[in-house]
Each structure stands twice: as structure tokens, then as C-alpha cells.
């Protein structure tokens, strides 16, 4: 669901097809019958944007099914490995009690200093918390912060430990998570699914039965999703809903199980791990923010550290990160330079930035590896770019972004005069991937080093060259500044030039291996002593590590594990641990402690992955020389728990980090070591997934009075360049999804300029059903005009039965779809489909809603 894997991840789709040859069943739930559906055992049509209703229906079906209630495996997994038994604050009110909203809903007011957050509301999550016993006595966090305690910061972390959560392992307590979720999904029946999703009831039940049959001790099922689950105003909740279902089915932390995020670009995973994201710093730590209690280093640690999970080590990750940023200038006395670190003011994501840009609040933009002129509400985006003083475009070709000022549709139709645009645009020709050294991090969190295979043509430079030389020039420019705001930048350590005698791959190119060494980390006193893993990180500045999750990928000066290419021998079960390196700690299945039962035995022989070998003789502790008792976690993968921590080990009463968890709590990054069915913290839009309609929808929400998510984002509300259709607006009666084709790539810079790919999909088209074509008098290949409140585009009609009409809420709803790869540059050209999309999005991650909105279609 939420992915068209065969078309958009064809290379990875090799493995589902291999599984199919081995007898696996493939199910594709999608608004279109795609190339993925074509090779699936079952295709189920679904109205775009209704996935939570479908998944919620599966949850409701599963927990009432005979199999789930009869097979003790499911209860054993759910009671012990999830928070099903945990009791929630009795003040909590569910969407069932409040017609579509949770307790804690409040209004959101945009702050004057950055009024581009777009939130329509906000939740106070106080009532979503676990019911807890009294907190253990000890030093108070506030006092420790006031007297600048640490390093070490252990006392600070310990002071954050809450009282023990109350539980009911019988799952009968009315406020326990299981009863809350049972109530929450009780109206998500197969009949309701059919009404809301347009999916035939028999097909829905077939999916539920196939999943149940293929889950349990001896079998597992996996879900694969991609951007069709993220690009919604509740995308994070869709994915969470799937995780909830998979936890109930015992399909997490086990081989052949899980919720697989299929990521798009070759290194898009890397770009969030070592992030280009505004809201996190390396390794998914939250970016210091002016809106959170992040005033000082210790305030940040107190706000962000989860004391009873592996995240209890956050002070070590953070201090090692600051040492990497500021080098010798970062000392315990100056809190390792924390005060120099930039803080965010709010939502600085893509759309928020363009909304600010449209109001003249952004002076310049460096645009590398993206083509915003063809993205999200394209005409508004181009309007925003015309407000810039300067813009840098670094790309393989003169993209639409580089040429919008003289070739954009607004300029061509005369609405905008070239002479009125004041932006100065700089174009830098860019290398391709095969023309430099570096690493990819793929969808499996696996880093693979690649070497330069060919020289770049002309004066093309790498992105590392660009940023390296920009940084060096900026450091020079600010070197003499005495302004306090510049001291952070002046203290940044920037040392990526190749060593003397080492020839750079291009003049001025940094040494890519040096960057990977910095990311892996080393002993501060001797950078040649690399860190072997994040267990070595310290919170006193003695270790330096840019990104803790990557620590261990380069464990010694001469051991770049990301360059390994050694597969397991054929026919031997294994995880190919010597092929590349996967974070964390080269582990291939996260939370894999869940692949064994409470006692550490595999759930079944067939699904063996890691297990406890009680007879294993451990060597003495290398540091203390103390005897280590027998027993070790062994198996095909790197175990995701303390390697010698017995399954029956008890939590240490005074313990922090992993010591606060028992040997039977697999979800070590969660504060209670459990998989979260109910999410008390971390999400801004509710602890349980709830069906809402997309921001633009042809129908009313059948399940609740609350039409759409009460806290999602609408940027530039009321502005003429972000007009929105009302619910059921007869001017825009059809549901539209945008998507990608195998033959093209994203905004087209890597495909529309290539003759071999352009001839395979030469022109923009709209896929529409035969019924709609008949109603509108549209024949195959006719030109049609597609209109949304934001604009219109022209495309050729591809009339097909692979998409069509659905019965939703008693109405016949036509579904249409358009690939969005096109623009006016390149060999294969076409209108910008994103001129139809809007600036609305998800409140957690600020992604836009491009997978479900409304439009009209007419013959041109």
C-alpha cells in the first residue's frame, strides 16, 4: 500500500518477485491498477487518501478474528512486546468520544517572528500520557541545570526518570491501550471500509484473511510503502497505523516482516541521516529550537533525552556531535559550543520557506539537486522565486528552475515581464554520481561506498566541491568579525582538504574519505584512533562523532566497511553482514530481539533470526578483567539488545539507558522498551491513527463530524496563489493523484534530457477511466484541460480501465491520475502538473498533500 514498487523501485522489486517464485503472495492496494498490480496476486482499488480507514478496518477485523484470539502467539507478542497493557491517563478522550478529535485540542497562533508554520490547530498531549506511580526520590532536574552539573550528565539523565507506568496484562482495564484502541477502531467495519474507501468488501476481507493466515509464529507479512503514504495531511498517521497493525500481528523485528519505507533517491536515506532536514541535526536528534526549552546545553538534554531507553545516551551523542562541529573550540567550560549552534524559529521546511519567500522574506536561495519550478503549487513557487534577490542553481542542465524567469508559463503568456524580475541567477554545472567518490545510504539504511568511474565533462563540479569551497570562502570572509553572532561560524572546524601529497579528484575537491571519517568519529586526542561503535561515545568531549548512528562504519583508519562487497554464500541463511554497512551497528533488522520469544528462543525454526545461546562461554571483560557469565545473543544478524544481557535480566532500579530495561524489552529506542500501539509522545496530531478526509475532498467524512485533521498545515491561507476547493465543490468533482513513472525520474533533470528515456514516455498524459471519458466525450489521445483551484494544465488523455469510478459514500467518484515529471525544458516536455497541487501538508513533517486532491477534466 502507498507504493507502486514495481514502477518506482524496480531494482528492489527483484526481491518481491523472487519471493513470489518461492510461493509468497503479493497484494497491491492502490487507486490505480499499475505495473505493480499487474504482477500481484490481488489488486484492491482504494480511493486516494482513505488508507487509514482501510488499515483501521484491518485492525478491527484482526482483533475480532478467530485466528488472532485463538493462537496464543499473538497475545504473547502483544502483551509483552507492545504497550497494549499500559494504562493511559483517565482524562484521555478518544475521537469516538469527541466526534473526531482527541482531548487536548487547542488553537494555534502564528508567532510574529516566523508566521509560516501553517498549523490549523495544536494538541496539548498531557492527557495522552501513561498513568504512573510516584517518581523515585533524587536530585531535581531544575537544580542540576542551575548548577551546571556534568559532564558526566548521568545524574541529569537519571533525574528525568518518571515513575513506573501502570499496566494490566489481562488487557481488561478500561483505560489500557488495548481497550482504547479496540474502542477507537470499533466502527471501522468491512462495510464502512467499502463506503469510505470504495474498496469492494469481499476484496477487503480477502486481504484481512490473507494477512491473518500469513502471520504468526511460523509466518510473517511485510508492508512496503513510499511517498503515497507520506504525501497527505495525515501521512505519518498512515504509516503509524500500519505499524500498529503489524505490531498486533507480531510482524515487527522479525525476518520477512516490518513496515518498509521505500525511499526514492539513491541516497535520500543518507540525506535524512546526516540531514539536509531543517528540524533535525545528525542522527535524528531534534534541532535546537527557539520554541522549545532548549536555552542551554543542559536544558536541551533535559528536554530531548529519553532516560529509560538507548536514547538515554543522548548527551554522549550530542557532545560528540558538537566536538565534530566546533573541534578544539568546544570545551566543557563553554558547554561544547552549544550556544553557538543555530536554533530554528519554527517550520523552515520547503513549503514554509516558499510561503515566506512569496512575501519577500527570503533574500537568496541555493538550489542544488532539486527543481522547485516544477514542484508543489508550481505557479506559487515561481511567484515566490521571482521575489528573490539572488538564486544559485547547480544542476546537470538548465532546468526549469534555472530558466523560469524567461521561459516559465507566466512569462510566455505575458502575465510577467522579464524586465520586472530582479533576481540575479547563477548557474553551476554539476557532476553526475559516477563522476566522484562518495557513499549512498539506501532504503535498507545500508551505506555503500562508490568510487569515481569517469571524469566529469567541462567545468562541472561536485556538490562536495561546491559546499567545501563555499565554506572556506565564507570562513575567510567572516574571519575578522568580532560580532557575537559570527563567532559560531568562525569556530566551526572545517578540515576536509586532502592531505599533502594526495591528489584531489578535481582541483579544490575535498577528500571524501575524510568526511566519512568525521561522520564515523574518533578519539578527540588522536583522530587516527577511529571509534568502533557508538557504545564508545563519551559526553566529556573525549570523543568526536558527527553522526552517532553512523559510528562504526569506519571502525579503524584502514577499515572502510561501507566499501565491502562480500555476499553470503548461496543457500546459507544470513543477513549479508559483509556487504556494505548498515546503521545502527551493521544491524539489518531493527528491534530484532522481537524475533525471539520472552525466553530468547526463536518463535519458530522457520523464522529464526537472533536467539539466546545460554551455554555460550564469554571471555572476561576486556576493561575490568571481570568474569562475564555464560550466555550470548547469537544468530544471523547483529542482535539489537545487550549482547550478553540475558532474556530474564531485570532492569536496574537506578539504571539509565539500556540498564533501565529488562532483557525482554525489544524496542530499545522507546522509553518503555515496547512497540507503541498508542503513541503518547512524538506526534503532534494524535496518539492513534484516525480517518480524516484529505484537505480537498469530494465527500464528507463518513466516520466523524471532524472533516479533516484538526491540526494539519495550510500555508499562505487565503492568499490568491493558494486557493482551496470547498468539500464537495461541484466545480472540482474528481479525485486526482500525482505519481511517477519508471521511465522518468522526479522533476526530470535526470531523464527528460536523455533520448533513450524520453522516447519511452515522450509526453505528459492523464490516465482516466472509460466511464469518465464517455461522460465527457474524451477519446484516447485527445488533449484535455485539467483544472484545480490553483491552475490548469494540458495533457493527452490515456483512457483506460486501470483507473476509474468508485462508489464512495453513496456517490460515484471518478479517480484520475497524472505523472508529474514534466516541464518546459529538455527533450520530452509538458505542462507542470504541480501547478495543480496546493500548499497544504502534514503537521509532523510538513510534506505536501500531492496524492489526494480534487480537479476537473474537460476536453480541450
Amino acid at each position: 500500500m502507498g507504493s507502486n514498487m514495481a514502477e518506482c523501485h524496480p531494482v528492489a522489486f527483484r526481491w518481491p518477485m523472487k519471493a513470489k517464485l518461492n510461493g509468497a503472495k503479493l497484494i497491491h492496494v492502490d487507486p490505480r491498477f499499475t505495473r505493480t498490480s499487474a504482477v500481484s496476486d490481488l489488486h484492491v482499488p482504494i480511493r486516494a487518501g482513505s488508507d487509514i480507514a482501510f488499515l483501521g478496518g484491518l485492525i478491527n477485523y484482526v482483533i475480532h478474528s478467530k485466528r488472532w484470539n485463538a493462537d496464543p502467539f499473538f497475545k504473547e507478542f502483544v502483551v509483552n512486546y507492545t504497550n497494549a497493557a499500559t494504562i493511559i491517563n483517565p482524562e484521555f478522550k478518544d475521537t469516538e468520544d469527541m466526534d473526531g478529535v482527541f482531548s487536548g485540542l487547542a488553537t494555534f497562533a502564528e508567532p510574529q517572528f516566523w508566521p509560516y508554520n501553517g498549523l490549523l490547530g495544536r494538541y496539548d498531549a498531557a492527557t495522552w500520557q501513561y498513568q504512573r506511580g510516584p517518581k523515585a526520590p533524587g536530585p531535581v532536574t531544575k537544580d542540576l541545570i542551575a548548577r551546571r552539573a556534568g559532564p558526566p550528565f548521568d545524574d541529569l539523565v537519571r533525574s528525568l526518570k518518571p515513575g513506573p507506568a501502570e499496566k494490566d496484562p489481562t488487557l481488561q482495564h478500561p483505560h489500557c491501550v488495548f481497550q482504547i484502541l479496540k474502542h477507537h477502531f470499533s466502527r471501522y467495519t468491512p462495510e464502512m471500509v467499502e463506503q469510505v474507501c470504495g474498496s469492494p468488501k469481499e476484496k477487503f476481507i480477502k486481504v484481512a484473511e490473507m494477512l491473518l493466515e500469513n502471520s504468526g509464529r511460523d509466518r510473517t507479512s511485510a508492508f512496503a510503502y513510499a511517498v503515497a503514504w507520506t504525501q497527505h495531511t495525515y501521512g505519518v498517521q498512515m504509516i503509524g497505523c500500519c505499524a500498529l497493525l503489524q505490531l498486533l500481528l507480531g510482524n515487527i523485528g522479525r525476518p520477512g516482516a516490518g513496515v518498509m519505507a521505500l525511499r526514492g533517491h539513491a541516497a535520500i536515506q543518507g540525506s535524512t541521516d546526516v540531514p539536509t532536514l531543517y528540524h533535525s541535526i545528525h542522527g535524528y536528534m531534534n534541532a535546537p529550537s527557539a520554541l522549545r526549552p532548549h536555552e542551554t546545553l543542559r536544558d536541551y538534554m533535559a528536554a530531548e533525552t529519553s532516560p529509560t531507553s538507548y536514547y538515554g545516551n543522548l548527551p554522549k551523542f550530542l557532545v560528540s556531535y558538537l566536538k565534530s562541529v566546533y573541534g578544539p573550540a568546544a570545551t566543557a567550560e563553554n558547554d561544547f559550543g552549544y550556544d553557538w549552534h543555530p536554533k530554528i524559529l519554527g517550520d523552515h521546511s520547503h513549503i514554509a520557506t516558499f510561503a515566506a519567500m512569496a512575501e519577500g522574506k527570503v533574500k537568496g536561495m541555493v538550489c542544488v539537486g532539486q527543481n522547485p519550478a516544477t514542484s508543489l503549487n508550481g505557479s506559487a513557487t515561481r511567484l515566490a522565486m521571482r521575489e528573490l534577490e539572488w538564486m544559485v542553481v547547480k544542476d546537470n542542465w538548465l532546468t526549469e528552475t534555472a530558466t523560469h524567469w524567461y521561459l516559465g508559463p507566466e512569462v510566455k503568456d505575458g502575465a510577467v515581464k522579464v524586465g520586472d524580475i530582479k533576481t540575479e541567477i547563477f548557474f553551476f554545472p554539476s557532476t553526475q554520481i559516477a563522476e566522484y567518490d562518495g557513499s549512498f545510504t539506501n532504503t535498507q539504511r545500508m551505506l555503500q561506498w562508490h568510487s569515481k568511474a569517469s571524469d566529469a565533462p567541462g567545468d562541472c563540479r561536485t556538490d562536495t566541491w561546491f559546499y567545501h569551497n563555499l565554506a572556506k570562502r565564507l570562513k575567510k570572509a567572516y574571519a575578522g568579525s568580532k560580532l557575537s553572532r559570527d563567532q559560531g561560524w568562525n569556530n566551526v572546524l572545517w578540515a576536509f582538504d586532502p592531505d599533502p601529497g594526495v591528489k584531489p579528484i578535481y582541483p579544490g575537491e575535498p577528500d571524501a574519505l575524510k568526511i566519512l571519517r568525521e561522520i564515523n568519529g574518533y578519539q578527540t586526542a588522536d583522530p587516527k584512533q577511529h571509534l568502533k561503535g557508538f557504545a564508545e561515545l563519551k559526553d566529556d568531549g573525549s570523543t568526536t562523532c558527527a553522526s552517532w548512528i553512523y559510528c562504526g562504519c569506519f571502525p579503524a583508519w584502514d577499515q572502510n566497511l561501507t566499501a565491502r562487497r562480500e555476499p553470503d554464500p548461496p543457500g546459507v541463511p544470513g543477513a549479508h553482514l559483509k556487504w556494505g554497512w548498515a546503521w545502527p551497528a551493521n544491524r539489518r533488522v531493527m528491534y530484532n530481539r522481537a524475533s525471539a520469544d520472552l525466553k530468547g528462543n526463536p518463535w519458530s525454526e522457520r523464522k529464526r533470526w537472533v536467539w539466546w545461546d545460554a551455554s555460550f562461554v564469554n571471555p572476561p571483560d576486556p576493561k575490568t578483567g571481570k568474569v562475564v557469565p555464560r550466555g550470548k545473543w547469537v544468530g544471523y544478524d547483529v542482535p539489537d539488545c545487550g549482547a550478553t544481557k540475558a532474556p530474564d535480566a531485570k532492569p536496574k532500579p537506578d539504571g539509565i539507558g539500556l540498564d533501565a530495561l529488562s532483557g525482554a524489552q525489544p524496542f530499545i529506542m522507546r522509553a518503555d522498551g515496547k512497540g507503541w500501539l498508542f503513541v503518547p509522545a512524538g506526534l503532534v496530531d494524535g496518539p492513534l491513527p484516525t480517518h480524516y478526509e484529505p484537505h480537498e475532498s469530494p465527500v464528507k467524512n463518513l466516520l466523524y463530524k471532524q472533516q479533516s485533521s484538526p491540526v494539519h498545515k495550510l500555508w499562505a491561507p487565503g492568499k490568491p496563489y493558494n486557493q482551496i476547493a470547498a468539500v464537495g465543490d461541484p466545480k472540482f468533482p474528481y479525485v486526482i493523484s500525482t505519481y511517477r513513472l519508471t521511465e522518468h525520474y522526479l522533476a526530470g533533470a535526470m531523464s527528460r534530457w536523455l533520448p533513450w528515456l524520453s522516447e519511452l514516455q515522450p509526453e505528459l498524459f492523464i490516465e482516466l477511466g472509460k466511464d469518465l471519458a464517455r461522460e465527457k466525450g474524451i477519446r484516447n489521445l485527445d488533449w484535455v484541460i485539467i483544472t484545480s483551484p490553483r491552475g490548469h494544465v494540458r495533457a493527452k488523455a490515456l483512457v483506460t480501465d486501470r483507473i476509474g469510478v468508485m462508489n464512495v459514500a453513496g456517490k460515484r467518484i471518478h479517480h484520475v491520475g497524472m505523472p508529474w515529471h514534466w516541464g518546459w525544458m529538455g527533450l520530452s516536455t509538458g505542462d507542470v502538473v504541480n501547478d495543480l497541487t496546493s500548499w497544504v501538508g502534514d503537521p509532523n513533517v510538513s510534506i505536501h498533500e500531492g496524492k489526494a486532491f480534487v480537479c476537473n477534466v474537460e476536453r480541450a
Binding site: 524496480p10 522489486f13 499487474a38 533513450w756 522516447e759 519511452l760 515522450p762 509526453e763 520530452s828
Partner: protein, 264 residues
């Protein structure tokens, strides 16, 4: 001499990604039609439409639906069949078309005079003139790659192993097994061109299909051009010459006549 090599294309795992088309063009340095600037065909996701002198691989898309979402979408990567009895070799006047040591059929571009005889002789419509070279061209089964022990570019690029390359005898055994597996699942699978006793002595590029051959644009009973010779030459060619030719062809025809009428 190495054993007979070829392709087994299992259409049931084809995902229509066209990686084969691009890999073929890249390895063989074939141009895109009109530099890549073309019009949408309107025929499902197929925009190259056929095999010809610059398209040596072609993925066919067949939509079989009886209403919205109700049906199936068949995909097949098509290529030269490298017939054991190849019509193109038979008619080539210059000897440009040869049978290689891998039992594949290759047009030698430097010997071809562009007479087009092979184009009409091919029962599958595989061959056409490559306008850049001015000669008849088609898949060489990557003869240059085979010579150095590499598999053909298309098979190498195919992510799902829909295109499998190997010794024909091995491929036939694998294909039979796959057909049996599908039949056991209730799929009407059939092999096309896998039978050495079938038309043209079997195809060294053969297919697993789930519908009749015609659905995929494949002739049910492909014929050699020689079967028409008697008719077409009786009006105009001197009888001695006709008899001479017929005598030659007769040797082949006898083998053909012993074969069952259909491939399917």
C-alpha cells in the same frame, strides 16, 4: 564449439520497466527515434511500438479489462527469436546473416547491402533498416559480450529475471518447471518456441505466455519464406532455376513437414 545459447523470457515476472530496451540501446549504441522527441502513442505504456533497426528489444503492454479495475495487464519483452531454422539466413543474398558458434543469428553490418530481403522473410517482423547504418539490423544476442563471457545487456539489466540467458537445454528445463508451477496454481501458462520439434526447429529465444501467442503479437505458426517460393516463382523464373532452388529447399521442407502444426 560452445553449446547453443539463448533467452528464456518469463512474461509472468516482467514488470514492464523497459530496462532491457535501454540497456540494449546503451550497449549497442542505438539511437532513439527522432532524438527522443516523439508523440505519445496512446497504446498503454508502449511508446516504441515494435522491433526494428534501432529497437532490438521491445516491451509490449496488453491491457485486458472488462471494466474498471477488472482484468489484467500483460507485459512481454520481445526480441529476435534466433530461430534454429532462420528465414533471414535463408534469403540473405550476400551471406551477411550468419549462424554463430553460440547457435545465434547475427547480421554482419559490413557485409549487408541493405537489400531488405530479410525484413520480409522474418515471420516475427524483427528486422528493419537502421537508418544510421543503412543496413538491416536486429538483436545480435550481444555477440560481442558472449565472446568475452558476459551475458547479454538486456538479461543483465532485467531486475526480475524475466529475461534469462543461458544454454538452451538448461533454459528449456527451467521453463518447463516454471510452466508446471504456474499450471499447478491454475494459471494457463504455455511455452512458445521451446519445442525443438516445433516450427522453425525451435526458437533460441523462447517465451512463457499466459495467453494465446496472437495476443502478444506472435504468429501461432511461423513459417519460413521458402514455403511461398513455389507459388511466387512459377510465373517468372526459368524452370531449371526453379527446380534447382526447390531441390535445395526441399531438403529443409522435409524436416519442416515432420513437425506439428502449432507452437502452442
Amino acid at each position: 564449439m560452445p553449446e547453443a545459447m539463448g533467452f528464456f523470457t518469463d512474461t509472468t515476472v516482467c514488470i514492464g520497466c523497459k530496462a532491457c530496451e535501454v540497456a540494449c540501446k546503451e550497449w549497442n549504441q542505438l539511437p532513439a527515434e527522432n532524438g527522443g522527441i516523439r508523440e505519445l502513442s496512446g497504446d498503454s505504456y508502449d511508446n516504441t511500438r515494435r522491433l526494428d533497426g534501432i529497437h532490438w528489444r521491445h516491451v509490449r503492454f496488453i491491457e485486458q479489462f472488462s471494466g474498471p479495475y477488472n482484468g489484467r495487464w500483460l507485459m512481454m519483452s520481445d526480441v529476435c527469436k534466433h530461430c534454429v531454422q532462420a528465414g533471414c539466413i535463408e534469403v540473405c543474398p550476400t551471406g551477411a546473416i550468419i549462424r554463430t558458434e553460440f547457435d545465434t543469428v547475427v547480421i554482419q553490418s559490413d557485409v549487408c547491402n541493405g537489400c531488405r530481403a530479410c525484413i520480409s522473410a522474418c515471420p516475427f517482423g524483427v528486422i528493419d533498416i537502421n537508418a544510421v547504418a543503412g543496413t538491416a539490423q536486429k538483436c545480435t544476442l550481444c555477440y560481442d559480450r558472449l565472446k568475452v563471457g558476459l551475458e547479454p545487456a538486456c538479461a543483465k539489466a532485467c531486475p526480475t529475471d524475466s529475461i534469462q540467458f543461458g544454454p538452451i537445454t538448461e533454459l528449456r528445463a527451467r521453463a518447463q518447471k516454471r510452466k508446471d508451477q504456474l499450471r499447478a496454481q491454475g494459471v494457463e501458462a504455455q511455452l512458445y518456441g521451446a519445442d525443438p520439434q516445433g516450427p522453425l526447429g525451435g526458437l533460441n529465444s523462447f517465451y512463457l505466455l499466459v495467453d494465446e501467442p496472437e495476443v502478444y503479437g506472435l504468429p501461432r505458426n511461423p513459417k519460413l519464406p521458402s514455403r511461398n517460393l513455389k507459388q511466387s516463382t512459377s510465373f517468372s523464373v526459368a524452370s531449371a532455376a526453379v527446380l534447382g532452388v526447390l531441390a535445395l529447399v526441399g531438403l529443409r521442407k522435409r524436416r519442416m513437414d515432420e513437425q506439428p502444426p502449432s507452437l502452442s
